[in-house]
Amino acid sequence: MRLALAFCALLGTACVTVNVTRFADEREPEEDVLLPLVPGESDLTQCLEILGAPVVVEELDDGAVLGWGWRRFQNMSVNVSVPVSSDANASVQYGRGGDGVEGIVLFFDADWGLVEVKRGHLQEILRSSRSRPNLIEED
């Protein structure tokens, strides 16, 4: 019993804390949702009907790039704090989990025809596809 009380007293001083966080942002589409989308055949109307509104829209050359993203992870961290003197504590924190935003990126030509489909880390795909914005010519 004494041991249990000592253990409770130790825990009560919050020397050790464990935090579990589950994070979900946006919903991941079904695996087979991309099957009807065929580069060279599908267009923007079909893509919007299937995937809904994108998270991001950017200009790309004469066309555009549209991205749909979602994030879902569980993070666990352990924090250990030990008093080393009357006015100082030493603490160590270890945690894992939490990837970037996964997503689907669709590339369109000037006539809103689907040119390419990519799936992976949203920001990486968008970063690699970015180009300088076009000048808008005056009529």
């Binding site: 019993m1 249990a4 409770c8 825990l11 009560g12 919050a14 050790v16 804390t17 464990v18 935090n19 579990v20 966080t21 589950r22 994070f23 979900a24 942002d25 946006e26 919903r27 923007l44 109307t45 893509c47 919007l48 995937l51 809904g52 509104a53 994108p54 998270v55 829209v57 950017e58 200009e59 004469d62 555009a64 569980q74 000037a110 809103w112 914005p133 076009n134 808008i136």
Partner: protein, 127 residues
């Protein structure tokens, strides 16, 4: 038995929980989207139906307006040394695409903000 009750009391007294709901922008009413007709509606019609967009993207001579409403629900449970927190966010989002004459060509809509839910990790399916 008394000791167990005492320990349970200490445990309960030291625990806590919270619920938090955060909104960004006003909800998008799906009925207003029915007023938008690609090929005939203009940027003015879209603004009258949905209000000022949260973002405008220039696509060469064309453009796209973004509307969104986000809901985030957080749940926290603290049991002495164990903290459990769940964060779930979802959005209503609309993109309206216009040609160089500001005529609506495409509309993409996702209405899912209401699907955000409360829950902490151990009480939710990991899906």
């Amino acid at each position: 038995m008394k000791r167990l009750a005492l320990l349970s009391l200490v445990w309960l007294a030291a625990s806590g929980c919270f619920f938090q709901r955060t909104h960004v922008n006003q909800p998008i009413e799906p009925a207003r989207l029915d007023q938008l007709q690609p090929g005939t509606s203009t940027a003015r019609d879209v603004v009258e139906a949905l209000g000022a967009p949260t973002d405008v993207v220039q696509l060469g001579k064309r453009s796209a307006y973004r509307y969104d409403h986000k809901v985030e629900k957080q749940t926290g449970l603290f049991l002495l040394v164990l903290g459990l927190r769940g964060v779930d966010s979802n959005a209503d989002r609309v993109w309206a695409f216009f040609d160089e004459n500001d005529v609506l060509t495409h509309v993409g809509a996702t209405i899912e903000a209401a699907e955000a839910g409360y829950g902490v990790p151990v009480f939710q399916d990991p899906d």
